[in-house]
């Protein structure tokens, strides 16, 4: 109940913030731009529209998760509304998880609007393909993880640094698959050990990226989907627990 109250207020704050609409407007423009780009380039119009649509949904979803997410937590601390909240009978973990849940709700609504626009475009062009929903579902899992990362960083650093750290980790997350390959090319055992250790600790967001596979109509099994979702949600849980741990020890000056 209390956690839900914080989540609803977070949702209300986000939907009354102009930044969200700005990001959403850009996303919808980008989804629509797939049609224009397909006219200017050589290649299948269907693939270009699908590629650009999914990329726009993913990119603007991540932008919302990081920039709105970091801003919402920071504002509570900076404007000291957190003092009023934490003086009430709520646990600090309820605050962090309530904020997270509210943001997840914002992302869900955001993603739903982008998906509707995307499917609308595909329907108009006669390319409607419901299997693209699998990629969008895993984009949502990825957004849940990125939001947790943004909240984790904003629990101890400024919005600028939090955004920077979150974007960096997001990029690393999509490149970390290269770490074992790098380890194989290294001669130093310490270097190899570090590469393997980083590969295990850093998120591998490519597990959640099946955009290319669905666009090219390659099979994605139910087992693949479940494993990817369990990986993403498990990682999210760990990051949220770390964020709660930091919040519980923090002074609110």
């Amino acid at each position: 109940m209390k956690l839900w109250a914080i989540a609803i207020n977070t949702f209300r704050e986000a939907i009354r913030d102009r930044i969200l609409y700005l990001i959403l407007a850009f996303a919808l423009i980008m989804i629509g731009a797939g049609r224009a780009v397909s006219l200017l380039t050589v290649g299948s119009e269907e693939k270009i529209i699908k590629d650009m649509g999914l990329a726009a949904i993913s990119l603007f979803g991540v932008a919302t998760a990081i920039f709105v997410g970091v801003g919402l937590v920071f504002k509570e601390i900076e404007k000291r509304t957190i003092q009023t909240l934490t003086a009430k009978p709520i646990r600090r973990s309820e605050f962090v998880l309530g904020k997270y849940l509210g943001l997840a709700l914002v992302l869900f609504v955001n993603l739903s609007i982008m998906t509707l626009a995307f499917y609308g475009l595909l329907w108009l062009k006669g390319y409607l393909d419901v299997t693209l929903g699998k990629a969008i579902a895993l984009i949502f899992v990825e957004l849940l993880l990125v939001t947790a990362i943004a909240i984790f960083f904003s629990s101890f650093s400024s919005p600028l640094l939090s955004s920077l750290f979150s974007v960096t980790l997001y990029l690393i997350g999509h490149l970390s698959w290269g770490l074992p390959l790098m380890a194989d090319r290294l001669e130093s055992p310490a270097g190899r050990w570090i590469c393997h250790a980083l590969f295990r600790v850093l998120p591998n967001l490519e597990y959640l990226n099946i955009k290319g596979r669905v666009v090219h109509r390659l099979p994605v099994s139910g087992e693949d989907m479940v494993l990817a979702a369990v990986y993403g949600l498990g990682y999210t849980l760990v990051v949220l627990m770390l964020a709660v741990g930091i919040f519980r020890k923090r002074d609110f000056l």
Binding site: A5, R80, T84, A87, P89, I90, K249, D251
Partner: protein
């Protein structure tokens, strides 16, 4: 004070903050002790930076002390359920500006787990109490400082708390608002509630508080009932008379001369008698004899080392 009467007990509280780049450590509290009894209004006074707000934040569990302990209603202050009996108004309150006053109070009510019916009932009565019934559907971004202070007090009282903690409650209020706040605070006492407030405005503290504690350099340098701290005996007399100045002033100090009127001060009864004798002997007209007692301001200035 017996243990059962103590609502708030703070013992040997210490807190320091690190400066920029952790190069310097600034000690704010150096073993602060205080106790507040059920049903009293306690005022924590002190200069800026003396540690009043830090003390309040530690009491509420917003800041963790380096050492020492805080007990509220006999339990550790970090126990979440203890806060169900507490209301808090922060200094210079800033709330969610995108919410209306009513939405904000509804949100606060939800944090106590109240049902929709219960929230509506409490919000209606509390808005009336703080004089905000007519403006409750306006977004907080359009509120003046005084209105924010009132809505802040409303959220602090929404759970009908047994202990109300107010950090500088009078700041930002006009004289009428201050008077209304004073009346609300006094009505809380009448209903058996305990009030713990910090204030810069000594006249308000003197009018409201049963007991005060003066914080200096991170410790409470003076604490007690106002009538015990402020000597009831007369400290000096100020005598105003008109006419020629008497030859024998009886050790009086002349404070001001305006036209034919003279204002003089004496500090002993013997000197007062001599001055009045002189005034009579010269045929002057005696206008006023005003006894001066210690005020909270005198005590405050003595404790914090003012002029």
């Amino acid at each position: 004070m017996s243990e059962s009467e103590i609502v708030l007990k703070v013992e040997r509280l210490e807190k320091s903050y690190w400066g920029h780049l952790r190069l310097r450590r600034h000690r704010v509290l150096r073993g602060l002790d205080l106790g507040v009894a059920r049903g009293e209004i306690f005022g924590l006074l002190g200069q800026n930076g003396a540690g009043k707000t830090t003390t309040i934040k530690i009491i509420l569990g917003l800041v963790f002390p380096d050492a020492g302990s805080v007990r509220l209603f006999g339990r550790r202050n970090t126990v979440v359920s203890v806060r169900e009996r507490i209301g808090f108004l922060p200094e210079n309150p800033y709330f969610y500006e995108y919410l209306t006053g009513r939405e904000f109070l509804d949100y606060m009510g939800r944090l106590f787990g109240y049902s929709e019916y219960e929230r509506k009932r409490r919000i209606g009565s509390i808005l009336e109490r703080v004089g905000m019934s007519g403006r409750s559907d306006v977004q907080l971004r359009k509120f003046s400082k005084g209105m924010l202070q009132r809505i802040g007090l409303a959220q602090a009282l929404i759970n009908d708390p047994d202990l109300v903690i107010l950090d500088e409650p009078m700041s930002g209020l006009d004289p009428i608002g201050r008077r209304e706040f004073r009346d609300i605070i006094l009505s809380l006492k009448e209903r058996g509630k305990t009030v713990f407030l910090s204030s810069h405005i000594l006249s308000d503290a003197e009018a409201l508080c049963d007991r005060v504690g003066i914080v200096k350099d991170g410790v409470v340098s003076a604490e007690g009932r106002l009538e015990d701290l402020l000597r009831p005996t007369v400290r000096s007399w100020e005598v105003t008379f008109s006419g020629p100045r008497p030859a024998d002033l009886g050790g009086a100090e002349i404070l001001a001369v305006r036209g034919t009127e003279t204002l003089a001060r004496v500090t002993t009864e013997a000197d007062l008698a001599r001055l009045l004798e002189g005034v009579r002997a010269e045929g002057c007209r005696l206008i006023a004899v005003v006894p001066r007692r210690d005020t909270l301001e005198d005590l405050y200035l003595k404790e914090v080392g003012g002029p």
